[in-house]
């Protein structure tokens, strides 16, 4: 890792080591001078040249080559201990040696420098790979910014990293490590978070000055552009999601408007027609026609009231304002109340309730649960054929969950509709055949979800069922057991 630390003492040490290697090999060869041929010595002298270049770098290598040239001439070419050369062949050997030594040191040195560059590149590539892997799949702009800053902090061995970015959606500003105070001095490295649409922000790095290398600046810019791309992607996705939500809510609003205006107008039409007819004096004071008209007005007024109630509930569910007031209640009491109210209408169906006496208290909003039962039962009444049975049952599924079933003997619902019947305005049958708002079941779903439960529908061998679960614990507390006094007065 010599190239990583090119400070001056190390630099001289390399040359010194180069000279030392040369001296040692000269000494050894000097001792063997009488038994070795001159060309062989020349060949052996190439060894320290190559080794020095490989170990200590190009500079020491060339120094060794020069020294070897001189040393070879001085110690091993006759006459010894002079730089003069007598024989022509020795001149050739000397020149060839010099050329070969220089070429070898050059080649080895270049290969070594190339290796160092390749290692640095590989490190950059690895770091970049790590960054992109960490960023892949992230949609949250805050975590993207955090990952970029964190990876920069590690890669650049920085004291402090600051990242700022802003968009039309929001501003991000963070610094790592979190505990450090803002630095007074200028950052050693900085790069803009550049995208096609301009700079989103900047990333600034404070670190020990001596660590800086030309490659670092490039690496930081690569980091910055990766970060900028990830941020831009996240923000584009957010904008797109928002646009989709708006579009969806627009679509629902127009569906609502068309459904509502139809649903609101039909009872109003009945009321208006009946009332004007009664006022006109055409209808006799005591007649069945008069009774019919009045009953129609009464029914339609109730229908309108239910409709308005449903619309309000739906808007409350959608705005998140429907917060259940959960208290310990008995399912049996809730179902009983609902059935008593429904039973005022003429009976075409049999209603059976199966709620065990020993069922624990359930933490629910009484009024909202009443509405769930009312909607599920009246939906069953609407679709199940007359003279069939509607069965309401509740069971403890386990220590923390209650399971409620509302079964009827109605026709099965095609599989593809089963999930969607809880959607707003979703109708399996033609809307004209059955009155309603298409909101009842979605209100049930909203209420059950707000209670932390699930609701689903299923086809049975002999009918159709709504099922839902409710948690039996309230903020982690299990149902209370009450002290019961048994002493009579």
């Amino acid at each position: 890792m010599i190239t990583r630390f090119p400070n001056s003492s190390r630099f001289f040490l390399n040359y010194l080591l180069g000279l030392l290697t040369f001296s040692v090999s000269t000494g050894i060869l000097y001792l063997l001078r009488d038994i070795l041929d001159t060309p062989l010595i020349a060949l052996l002298f190439l060894l320290p040249v190559g080794l020095n270049t490989a170990f200590w770098g190009l500079g020491p290598g060339i120094l060794t080559a020069l020294s070897a040239f001189l040393g070879f001439n001085y110690f091993f070419i006759q006459p010894y201990y002079t730089f003069t050369v007598h024989q022509t062949s020795d001149v050739v050997v000397l020149i060839v040696f010099f050329v070969v030594a220089i070429v070898i040191s050059q080649l080895v040195g270049r290969a070594k420098a190339g290796l160092a560059v390749a290692t640095a590149r590989e490190r950059e590539a690895t770091k970049l790979y790590e960054l992109t892997t960490a960023l892949a799949g992230l949609q949250d702009d805050q975590s993207i910014a955090h990952i970029v800053a964190e990876q920069t902090l590690q890669t650049f061995q920085a004291e402090r990293v600051e990242l700022t970015a802003r968009s039309t959606l929001k501003n991000i500003s963070l610094s790592l490590p979190e505990a450090t105070a803002a630095s007074a001095r200028k950052p050693e490295l900085a790069a803009a978070l550049q995208t096609v649409r301009g700079a989103l922000g900047e990333i600034r790095v404070w670190r020990n000055q001596s660590l800086n290398q030309p490659a670092d600046d490039r690496l930081l810019h690569t980091f910055a552009s990766q970060g900028a791309m990830a941020l831009e992607r996240a923000w584009l996705t957010q904008t797109e999601t928002r646009a989709k939500v708006l579009e969806e809510s627009d679509r629902l609003k127009s569906a609502l408007l068309s459904s509502v205006s139809h649903e609101l107008r039909s009872p109003l039409a009945t009321i208006k027609a009946s009332i004007t007819s009664l006022r006109s004096g055409d209808v006799q004071w005591k007649s069945s026609a008069r009774e019919d008209l009045l009953a129609a007005v009464d029914d339609e007024t109730d229908h309108l009231n239910r409709l308005v109630g449903n619309l309000l509930d739906m808007s409350r569910i959608e705005s998140g304002a429907l917060k259940p007031q959960r208290q310990w209640n008995l399912i049996g009491e809730i179902v009983g109340g609902v059935i008593a109210r429904i039973r005022r209408a003429p009976e075409q169906h049999k209603l059976e309730v199966d709620v065990p006496e020993d069922l624990p208290l359930v933490p629910v909003d009484y009024v909202q649960m009443e509405q769930v039962f009312e909607n599920l039962i009246s939906n069953s009444l609407k679709y199940a054929p007359p003279n069939t049975t509607i069965h309401v049952s509740a069971r403890k599924l386990n220590e923390t969950t209650l399971m409620v079933k509302v079964n009827n003997q109605g026709p099965p619902v095609p599989q593809e509709h089963l999930d969607r019947i809880f959607d707003k305005f979703y109708r399996v049958t033609n809307a004209d055949r059955v009155t309603g708002t298409g909101l009842g079941l979605s209100i049930c779903k909203g209420i059950i979800s707000a209670h932390g439960g699930n609701i689903w529908a299923e086809n049975l061998p002999d009918g159709f069922a709504f099922n839902f679960t409710l948690p039996l614990t309230l903020d982690g507390t299990p149902p209370p057991r009450l002290p019961v006094d048994s002493e009579t007065i």
């Binding site: 509930d313 007031q325 310990w328 009491e333 009983g336 009024v367 009450l482 006094d485 009579t488 007065i489």
Partner: protein, 231 residues
């Protein structure tokens, strides 16, 4: 002064006021109307009515405050009018002294039934309090601690009796969870709605013909309970 009961209606909607005045006058009541809270309070003080029908959504002041201000000097029955899904508001008004509530829109039969209960209650305040309450085949003798269903005596625990006694001495009136809990179990237990749920089930089992479909002890969803006795 005529003998016809005097009803003060405080509501800010002209159409409702018009309808109420027509219907109640038709039913031989003496009707005064006010469309502001302050006006209603002034009218009530100038000529005390037998019943106040009060809308909770008034433009100038909170209906709950009107209840509280009336209760400073009079116990005349107050029936509050309110819309669906405002249980919290209703409960607040009932706890502040209102006697009963009606949810808009309501039928006229319902209104008249509530007015009758309120008048009876008003008569009770003025004088005698009945110690024997009859409901269907139930006879509750509050003074002698005897409850009979037909000819058979019903055995109640001390808490059950206390609960029933409170309900039966306020027949026809809606009692909030808080007021029942405070009265029977004490102020400290006022939030333990589960006591009510369990004890009401026990009472119904002992008193109702069909405990699953009670006729005497009715649940007022999100608000409280009401005991229905013979008129």
């Amino acid at each position: 002064m005529t003998n016809a009961p005097h009803i003060l209606v405080i509501d800010d909607e002209p159409q409702i006021l018009r309808a109420m005045r027509t219907i109640l006058t038709e039913k031989k009541f003496q009707v005064t109307i006010a469309n502001r809270g302050e006006e209603g309070l002034a009218l009530a003080a100038a000529n005390p009515p037998d019943i106040v029908i009060l809308d909770l959504g008034l433009p100038d002041m909170d209906g709950i405050e009107v209840c509280a201000r009336l209760r400073e000097w009079t116990q005349i029955p107050i029936i509050i009018l309110s819309v669906r899904d405002s249980e919290r508001e209703k409960v607040a008004a009932l706890d502040k002294g209102a006697d009963d509530y009606l949810t808009k829109p309501f039928g006229i039969e319902e209104l008249l039934a509530h007015v009758r209960v309120a008048l009876r209650h008003s008569a009770q305040i003025k004088g005698r309090k009945e110690s024997v309450v009859k409901a269907g085949d139930l006879v509750i003798d509050l003074a002698r601690y005897i409850i009979k269903r037909g000819s058979a005596e019903v055995k109640l625990t001390a808490t059950e009796f206390k609960l029933l006694a409170y309900l039966a001495s306020n027949t026809g009136r809606v009692l909030t969870h808080r007021s029942i809990l405070t009265h029977v179990w004490g102020e400290a237990e006022a939030d333990h709605i589960e006591y009510l749920r369990v004890y009401m089930r026990q009472l119904r089992k002992k008193l109702e013909v069909d405990p699953e479909r009670p006729q005497y002890i009715l649940t007022e969803p999100g608000i409280g309970y009401r005991f229905i006795a013979d008129e």
